[in-house]
Structure formats: C-alpha cells, structure tokens
C-alpha cells in the first residue's frame, strides 16, 4: 500500500472523530512511515511496518477513548454545578431573607445606639457633677469672702461633696464602658463561631 493510500484510508475510517484529533494522529503516523523510508525501507515496507490500517484504527480509537475517559475524571464539573444551584436558590429566596437581614441589622444598630447613649449619659452625669462642684467651690469661696459666710460655706461644702461624687461617677462610667466593650467582644466572637459552624455544615 502506498503512503497516500494508507493516510487516506486512516482519514476515511476515523471520520467520526474530531478532525483536529485525527489530523494530529495521522501526521504522527505519516512521520513514522517517512522515518522508516529514510532508514532505507521501501514505501510499501514502511507502511506495512507501521501496521495494517484496521490495526492502527483500532489502536487509535481504543487509545482516544480511554484518554477521553481519563480527562472527564480529572475535570470533575460536579462541584461547579452544586455551587451554581446553591447560588440560584439563594437568589430565588432573596425576597424572604433580605428584609429579615435588614430588620436584624436594624435591631442590632438600635441596641448599640441604646447602650451607647447610656454610656454617654453616664459621662454627662459625671460632667455635670464636675461642673456643679467647680461652681460650688469657686462661688462658695467667693461668697465667704464677700460676707455671706454660712451660705458660702454651705456652697463650698456642697462643691467638695460633689467633687467627690464626680470621682465616683467617673470610675463608674469607665467601668460601665469596659463592661459594655467586653460584652460586645464576647457577642462578636460567639457570632463568628456560629457563622463558622454554619459554613462548615
């Protein structure tokens, strides 16, 4: 058989395979035949040495089939599909969970606002104690000096008393702030763990 006949026969019998694949393999065999001819074999001998057309076709089909099987195993498109369906479900259910999420967020924000305003008012109390005690001390002395001795003394006394209270108020506010911060941290950590566990599941 001539080289050309061999190649034409291959193309003919492999017509059901994708053309680019066939071309690559036929070129490979053509090269083999030509190399043997270069070694000194005649065209007929070289073609015969490579194998009969049917043998080669069977080998090609056999090898390409197992190749494609292995490729499919490696590709594993299953994971992409499950992720896609998860996303689709999320999108479909969004009218339900989006408002819920917003409501939840709003509740959290107002909780924070409430706690924050409590802390702010504690410091405000502290501030007003300081202010009034300063006033009392200063004007107490002024009054005493300007003759209103007893009133001035009372005012001074009240000022000092309030100064002492303001120290308590300061430490109280600070303690409340620290407590709040610690509670928030613990709440955040607990939330992270819950979310983490859900993702694992």
């Amino acid at each position: 058989m001539t080289k050309l006949d061999f190649i034409m026969a291959l193309y003919d019998k492999l017509s059901d395979m994708p053309h680019s694949e066939v071309e690559e393999r036929v070129n490979f065999y053509r090269e083999m035949i030509e190399d043997r001819m270069e070694e000194g074999l005649s065209e007929e001998e070289a073609v015969a040495a490579v194998g009969s057309v049917d043998e080669v076709v069977a080998q090609i089909k056999g090898e390409s089939a197992s190749e494609r099987l292995n490729k499919d195993k490696i590709a594993e498109p299953k994971n992409d599909k499950t992720n896609a369906s998860k996303i689709a479900l999320l999108a479909l259910a969004s009218p339900i969970w989006i408002p819920l999420l917003i409501a939840g967020g709003a509740i959290l924000i107002s909780l924070f606002a409430a706690v924050f305003s409590i802390i702010v008012s504690c410091f405000a109390v502290f501030g007003s104690f300081v202010g009034v005690s300063l006033y009392g001390v200063v004007f107490g002395i002024v009054w005493m000096l300007s003759g209103k001795a007893i009133a001035g003394l009372a005012l001074l006394g009240m000022g000092i008393f309030l100064a002492g209270l303001s120290i308590f108020a300061f430490f109280g506010s600070k303690a409340l702030t620290d407590l709040t911060v610690r509670l928030i941290k613990r709440l955040a950590a607990w939330l992270m763990r819950r979310i983490g566990r859900k993702e694992e599941a």
């Binding site: 490979f28 090269e31 083999m32 043997r36 080669v56 080998q59 056999g62 090898e63």
Partner: protein
C-alpha cells in the same frame, strides 16, 4: 510481562530515550525496542500524557524537506527518572533478599 507494570515502565523508557538529547518518534521506538516492545499507537499516547504532565516539550523542525516533531525532556521529566531510579533501588534490594541463596535455576 504484567500489563500494568509494563505501562508504568514505558513512560520512564520514553523519558530515558530523550534524556541525553532531543529525539523523535521513530528513533524513540528504535531505542526502546531492545528492552520492550513499543507500538506507534502506544508511543503516541505516552508522549501526549508526558506532555500534559509537563515532563517533556515538543517542538517542530525541518528535516530533509519535511516537518518532524522533536521531544525534549524537562526538569519534571528528569525528576521522574530520578524518582524511578530510587524506587527501583528498593525493588532491587527486595529482589536480592527474596532470591538470597537461590540460583536462577533453583525450583525450591
């Protein structure tokens, strides 16, 4: 020879054939022939597999007025050969243990 075993060995045979210099299809078959039979079809599949595993690269060159594909081994290919050598050192010592004291003709 066991088919599974043969398949694994053919990969490294092809790599060894292109280890010291670039080679081409028919030459690889000739080089390997004294040791194990290698058909064109099988060689094609092995070359494709080794290329996919980055153990060899292909380039085309003109030879006597026609195009010929040359195959060159890569670092990964050399590493695979080294791995094979180490694996079979072990096999060799096990073989020696198993056949210790026996001569090839012993049937005991």
């Amino acid at each position: 020879m066991d088919n599974q075993l043969k398949r694994g060995l053919l990969d490294v045979c092809v790599l060894a054939a292109i280890k010291s210099e670039d080679s081409y299809g028919y030459k690889i078959i000739k080089d390997v022939k004294p040791y194990v039979e290698l058909s064109e079809s099988t060689l094609y599949t092995i070359l494709k597999r080794l290329e996919a595993a980055n153990m060899l690269i292909v380039h085309t060159a003109v030879h006597e007025g026609r195009l010929r594909k040359y195959y060159r081994i890569t670092e990964e290919g050399l590493a695979r050969l080294e791995e094979f050598r180490r694996e079979w050192q072990e096999v060799l010592s096990i073989y020696q243990f198993v056949t210790k004291g026996e001569s090839v003709n012993d049937k005991a």
